[in-house]
């Protein structure tokens, strides 16, 4: 994204010099380029990794050396980290140093989680891990809202997903994933619109797919994955009909909507085809999946390389699945490897041809690859 903005600025300067646009238009364009929410840059990722590593080191220090550091000192250290992370980050942001500001925010949020863990250790609390993670998630979401931080919004999604997973698996038996999760991610989605975090929205959609699959495992109702698949098709279809409108409403970035649509469709159809594996409907389901993947490739594959690769992956997955179900029982192991090799070679040949065909004509027409 940063690369795109700097290229754009070079182009604006060139257009202005060539007289294609006047100075005021150039200024407006530059302002627009600067106001674009910065995507995930390499520097941001590195500074965030640094924050997580430093946070982990403090956590270990607090947890391990507790007979040498008095309790109140450890608590004070955590409190100071919370305040220092948030206030220091705000000061850095005021100075325009966004990467380090976000890293400092993460340090503050990690310190809040460390504080919860430290209190559990101080008072020998057991069996309250899920509430602890929920509280941590709430604190992180609040921080994302107050500080308008994209990375913290994404962090809140991860914590909410961990919480949902723990509630599902934490009991003595496999429990139902909590419906409250839907409300939690709805709140975080709203926060992500304010903090302009497309990453957080993508993570929410992925978490929802996981939630649907867990619900299916719990209830074994075909309606659960069916709803996921239908909603995903609806998302994809809406994007095909009105791409700009859909992008404006759900703001998933470049081709985010169709990519999530295809992913959700596969996540929803997988349990369905597994359920009907020994049923007459199986072949019909397989045909529907193949047709949908091909349709997705035709409708959106040309402009988005990511969607194309996802389509190939889905196609390959489906071929192998059908193959394992239908053919493996009929032939021996050696025959299986031989024919599997032939099938994969055929797939590779087909994908190479599609890629070549996609690249060749537009290269002459527009002079650019996807």
């Amino acid at each position: 994204m940063a690369g795109y903005v700097s290229n754009l600025k070079k182009d604006i300067a060139r257009w202005e010099a060539d007289g294609l646009i006047d100075a005021s238009t150039a200024a407006k364009l530059r302002k627009d380029a600067d106001s674009r929410p910065g995507g995930v840059s390499f520097g941001l990722i590195l500074s965030m990794l640094a924050a997580v590593l430093i946070g982990a080191s403090i956590l270990l220090l607090v947890a391990a050396n507790w007979e040498y550091i008095p309790r109140l000192v450890r608590v004070g250290l955590i409190f100071a980290l919370i305040a220092g992370g948030y206030v220091g980050g705000a000061i850095l942001k005021g100075r325009g140093n966004t990467s380090f500001a976000e890293a400092a925010y993460i340090l503050g949020a990690v310190a809040f989680g460390a504080g919860i863990a430290l209190i559990a250790q101080m008072y020998h609390l057991s069996g309250e891990e899920t509430q602890a993670i929920f509280l941590w998630c709430g604190g992180t979401a609040l921080a994302a809202l107050a500080l308008r931080s994209g990375p913290l919004t994404a962090g809140a999604v991860l914590l909410a997903t961990i919480w949902m997973n723990m509630v599902t698996f934490d009991t003595d038996w496999f429990g139902a994933p909590p419906m409250l999760f839907l409300g939690v991610v709805a709140v975080i989605w709203a926060i992500s619109l304010w903090s302009q975090s497309a990453v957080a929205r993508h993570l929410i959609l992925l978490a929802l797919m996981y939630f649907a699959v867990l619900h299916y495992v719990d209830t074994e109702l075909v309606t659960v994955p069916l709803i996921l698949a239908v909603a995903s098709v609806a998302l994809f279809g809406a994007w095909v009909l009105a791409p700009d409108l859909v992008d404006r409403i759900i703001k998933l970035g470049d081709h985010g909507a169709p990519i999530q649509g295809l992913l959700g469709f596969i996540a929803g159809m997988s349990p369905i085809q597994y359920m009907f594996q020994n049923d007459r409907l199986f072949l019909l389901i397989v045909v529907v999946i193949f047709a949908a993947v091909i349709a997705a490739l035709v409708l959106g594959g040309r402009e988005s390389r990511m969607l194309r690769w996802l389509g190939y992956a889905a196609f390959t997955y489906e071929v192998i699945y059908v193959y394992v179900v239908l053919v493996v029982s009929m032939i021996g192991t050696a025959g299986f490897f031989l024919s599997a090799g032939l099938v994969v070679a055929g797939l590779a040949w087909a994908i190479t041809r599609i890629e070549r065909r996609l690249k060749a004509p537009p290269a002459e027409a527009t002079g650019g690859a996807t």
């Binding site: 206030v87 100075r95 209190i119 609390l125 057991s126 009991t171």
Partner: protein, 194 residues
């Protein structure tokens, strides 16, 4: 100018956020310390539990004489559904040896008649209602004891061989809080308030 103003506001908001999160943690500490300060003191007998390896990282897992309850204590109450953990209130009373033993137990709410002098209601959780006459397994949130590194092994080996005791403070609402850990009559660890 506007940018400078925004930056100042952001700093103020960040400070308010830090105060709020610190207040949440502080209130947790305060709640626990107040149980330690003013809760009713009870003594439980520490029992070995399965699995055998009780030492997990820097804490030992412990069971108690009240970690499984006889169904008769529930006074005819029974739970047919298995839909997740229920709150259980267990009424305790000290026996001749000073160990607190269960007198009765109720699901979801304390027993109607209030505890008499020398009795206390303890809040716990049960996730499983066994068939037939099996005992009801209980959790109280005090099944972990954090130790300095390397000090867990002797305790783990001692539990089940000689008697260990845990002194626990119980809040008015039944929430327990570990107070001190005893090897026979010897105090091993006592918790400071903060």
């Amino acid at each position: 100018m506007i940018a400078a103003l925004q930056a100042r506001w952001l700093t103020v908001i960040a400070a308010a956020l830090a105060v709020a999160q610190i207040a949440v943690l502080g209130s947790m500490i305060w709640a626990r310390a107040s149980i330690l300060r003013s809760g009713t003191e009870i003594v439980l007998e520490v029992r070995p539990i399965d699995p055998r390896d009780l030492l997990r990282g820097d804490y030992v897992i412990v069971g108690y004489n009240i970690s499984s309850l006889d169904k008769a204590l529930f006074g005819g109450e029974k739970r047919e559904d298995y839909s997740g953990p229920h709150t259980v209130f267990v009424r305790l009373k000290a026996d001749a040896a000073g160990i607190w033993q269960p007198v009765l137990a109720r699901l979801d709410a304390p027993a109607a008649e209030p505890p008499r002098a020398g009795e206390v209601d303890l809040r716990g959780y049960s996730g499983y209602w066994p068939p037939d006459n099996g005992a009801v397994p209980m959790d109280y949130g005090i099944e972990r004891f954090y130790l300095p590194e390397g000090q867990g092994r002797p305790i783990e080996e001692g539990i089940g061989v000689r008697p260990f005791r845990m002194k626990v403070a119980v809040a008015a609402d039944g929430t327990p809080q570990i107070k001190s850990f005893h090897d026979g009559d010897t105090l091993i660890y006592a918790e400071p308030l903060y």
